[in-house]
């Protein structure tokens, strides 16, 4: 991993169209400003990772029967 030291207000470029600016530093928190083309998705890594994990837990097992679920949630509509 490339590690660069930057001060508050300084920036760096990734390629020619992504600019990261260190907006502020307070204790162990850093505020980062990002200028990037609209088609570059930017997400906090932990959110992406959490969605990935949630997708992994969502794969249905062989015995999952949604008929029962459809019954349960149709009968108890106040539940949903």
């Amino acid at each position: 991993m490339l590690v660069l030291t930057r001060k508050k207000g300084q920036a760096l470029m990734i390629g020619h169209d992504i600019e990261l600016t260190i907006v502020d530093i307070q204790g162990d928190q850093v505020r980062i400003g990002i200028n990037a083309p609209k088609n570059v998705p930017i997400h906090r890594k932990e959110i992406y990772e959490e969605i990935r994990k949630e997708n992994l837990s969502a794969v249905v097992g062989k015995n999952t029967d949604i008929k029962i679920l459809n019954e349960k949630f149709r009968k108890n509509e106040e539940n949903i």
Partner: protein, 143 residues
């Protein structure tokens, strides 16, 4: 065509019903093709999203508008382009359901709905910028 699945065995599907996910789904980037398998009953709340590429890979999905009042999903310009959306009426919004062993912990991911352009059969799981939308929204009050 005949599709091999672990969950349903061999099933007959129409090739034109295959939905292409150009980026796959996070965690399953290698599976780009899926089919939606509905339920005979139109009162049904839950459906299946079965991978065409991986027989073992199948999700349960549901309509987030049905489980969460006032739900809204944003699709930004680049995704509108990716999915070739021209008619918003042909866009289907689904959410992936997690069914744990303890059924009372059944939950849906409202933060990252599956958006499908039914017109072009293109789909993507789109992470919403809205931080109020939970990744784990529990459906059952008995939790």
């Amino acid at each position: 065509m005949l599709l091999k699945t672990v969950h349903f065995g061999e099933i007959e599907i129409n090739e034109e019903d295959i939905i292409f996910f150009p980026e796959g789904i996070p965690g399953f980037e290698d599976s780009k093709k899926y089919v939606l398998i509905g339920n005979e009953s139109n009162e049904a709340v839950f459906f299946w999203l079965q991978s065409v590429d991986i027989p073992e890979l199948c999700f349960v999905v549901t309509d987030p508008f049905m489980v969460y009042d006032g739900y809204g999903a944003d699709v930004e310009d680049d995704d509108i382009e990716l999915l070739g959306i021209t008619d918003p009426n042909r866009v289907l919004t689904l959410t992936i359901v997690v069914i744990p062993e303890n059924i009372n912990e059944i939950r849906v991911n409202l933060k990252a709905p599956i958006i499908i352009n039914m017109e072009k059969k293109l789909g993507k799981q789109i992470i919403q910028k809205n931080d109020d939308l939970p990744i784990r929204y529990y459906l059952s009050k008995e939790k």
